[in-house]
């Protein structure tokens, strides 16, 4: 029964990992930007949430859409200014610029919020609410909500990319930027929209991270970015549902590892990550070995 419990808990955690990962995957797929500050953005979103709640006293769940919109705006502006500027100087420059952004964010957060960790919505009853199956399996409602939300977000994103005008343009620009320009699309604006979506999704993840456990200034690069990368690589680059599969595989591997030996949690996750890189480098869902 303990094993079933581990698998269920790991599977649910995978939803959160998918939310961390899908923005990273989107930004790489569309603009070939490997955003090394991606994890820090989740943390920033969490701290914005702390601020929004402190000022407005709104319930933590209500603050999520506010934070998502704020982060989406920040994403659009950052893409149109800093990241686009780096892109124009070459794709490798974006690595350096986002790495720098990551350092600036972490130090900025430590300066203003100290290195102490913080939780979101501490004391709210739904965060600790849970239900039991049998005597050994206890599932937190929050984890179920996150997993369901991850599926909803991915479904929505897929619908948006498939059927909306700008979703189609995002895919067109990812295919051939110049040809999209010839169809009248301002690719910089399209990039901005893609970045807004990426920042918005990671904002959701950052808020829930703050509810499940806590956030601290350096959490972004210590775990979130690495988990997001692992989920993307396991699932397959450029595939939305791949990030969910990757997140779930990573989550289950970590849970099983922790079940065997509590200190093996992270090790087990990275072992699976390495195994996928060796056996199936294109990821579990990708058909071809694309860049």
């Amino acid at each position: 029964m303990a094993w079933v419990n581990a698998i269920i808990q790991g599977l649910l955690t995978g939803g959160l990992y998918a939310l961390f990962a899908c923005g990273l995957s989107l930004m790489f797929g569309v603009m070939k930007v490997i955003n090394l500050a991606h994890g820090d953005l989740a943390v920033v979103a969490g701290y914005i949430g702390v601020g929004v709640i402190a000022i407005t006293h709104m319930p933590v769940l209500w603050s999520i859409p506010v934070v998502v919109v704020l982060m989406a705006i920040i994403g659009y502006v950052l893409q149109r200014s800093l990241i686009q500027g780096a892109l124009s100087r070459g794709e490798l420059t974006t690595l350096i610029v986002t790495f720098g952004l990551s350092i600036v964010i972490e130090n900025g957060l430590q300066q203003f919020f100290t290195a102490n960790s913080r939780g979101l919505g501490v004391g709210d009853s739904f965060i600790t609410a849970s239900f039991s199956i049998g005597s050994q399996i206890t599932i937190a409602w929050l984890n179920v909500i996150i997993f369901a939300l991850a599926v909803v977000v991915l479904l929505g994103l897929q619908q948006y990319l498939s059927h909306s005008k700008y979703g189609r343009l995002i895919r067109a620009v990812a295919d051939d930027r110049e040809a999209a320009q010839l169809s009248g699309a301002n690719y910089r604006h399209v990039f901005g929209i893609a970045a807004a979506i990426a920042f918005g999704t990671v904002a959701i993840a950052g808020m829930f991270q703050g509810m499940i456990t806590t956030i601290s200034p350096t959490l972004g690069t210590e775990t979130i970015l690495l988990f997001a990368f692992a989920a993307v690589v396991i699932g397959g680059l450029g595939s939305l549902w791949g990030t969910l599969l990757g997140g779930v595989v990573l989550g289950v591997a970590q849970a099983i590892g922790a079940q065997i030996n509590p200190s093996w949690e992270q090790l087990a996750g990275y072992a699976v990550f390495l195994a996928v890189l060796v056996i199936r480098p294109q990821g579990l869902t990708s058909r071809g070995a694309q860049a």
Partner: protein, 274 residues
């Protein structure tokens, strides 16, 4: 990222000809009013290489203006500069009476200068119909829409859900034309439609041109296949190494003149080259 290193133009690059003066307009063309698209003294560099050395042309409404010339003559560069993908070193592009030289390519497309680029450049991860829909994203008002494209190319309707990567060269070229047409251009730039296609397919694609012209679209095309260009053009210009070597209507120019202009033979010699 054009770096202007010293010695911008290498010597001996066939630059003995002076830049051509603004093209004299043959009688009859002005009847249609002002040119819809005008290029004046366009100089374009690819890095240090001078691709165009002072090209001028005027395209009047309703014309089929053909740019001919061998590989590397600068035809595609000229078209890409008109659509805004290249920035000229000097010279101007005027569209509908407005100077658009510094205007972004997407804005030019939305205002009615639409190009079918060399090599089709379809979106491979999108379906046929999605490719057309992207073309329609910033369309002007006009007669062309997806239904009309399916009338022009009846085979498309059945295969609209297919990815274009699996299609033949001719089919891809047709999709590229459709993607440009649904934007309802005023000037359609066609870059090397015949490239890599069997002659019979080229014929079939050019057979759609009359319907395009009927809808009021002006065409500026680049073609390596001279006989094909002469068949459809109402006006033509021949480029050689970035210079204009011949201009006129197909009726005005002789086969010998075209040959000489195409290959760069000076008058009275080397006519046998072709």
């Amino acid at each position: 990222m054009t770096s202007n290193l010293p010695g911008g133009q290498p010597p001996g690059m066939g630059s003995s000809r002076p830049p051509s003066p603004p093209a004299p307009v043959p009688p009859g063309r002005q009847e249609s009013g002002a040119p819809l698209l005008e290029v004046r003294d366009l100089v374009v560099h690819h890095g240090q290489l001078r691709a165009l050395s002072g090209i001028s042309l005027a395209v009047y409404p309703g014309e089929v203006y053909a740019l001919i010339g061998a590989n590397g003559a600068g035809k595609s560069t000229l078209l890409r500069t008109i659509s805004g993908l290249h920035h000229p070193t000097s010279g101007s592009v005027t569209y509908d009476g407005k100077n658009v030289t510094g205007v972004r390519p997407d804005k030019r497309a939305a205002s009615g200068i639409v190009m079918v680029p060399e090599g089709r450049r379809l979106f491979p991860s999108l379906t046929l119909e999605e490719n057309l829909k992207v073309g329609m994203s910033f369309a002007r008002k006009g007669p062309w829409n997806i239904a009309r494209i399916y009338e022009l190319f009846p085979w498309m309707k059945e295969r609209r859900g297919q990815k274009t990567a699996q299609m033949s060269g001719g089919e891809q070229q047709s999709v590229a034309i459709g993607r440009a047409l649904v934007a309802n251009p005023r000037v359609l730039l066609l870059d090397e439609l015949s490239l890599g296609l069997a002659p019979v397919i080229v014929q079939r694609i050019y057979a759609t041109l009359p319907q395009v012209l009927e809808s009021g679209i002006t065409v500026l095309l680049v073609e390596q296949d001279v006989s094909q260009a002469l068949r459809v053009a109402t006006h033509l210009q021949c480029l050689l190494e970035g210079h204009t070597t011949l201009e006129g209507t197909p009726a005005e120019v002789t086969r010998e003149q075209v040959e000489a202009a195409y290959f760069g033979a000076t008058d009275g010699s080397n006519h046998g080259l072709g």
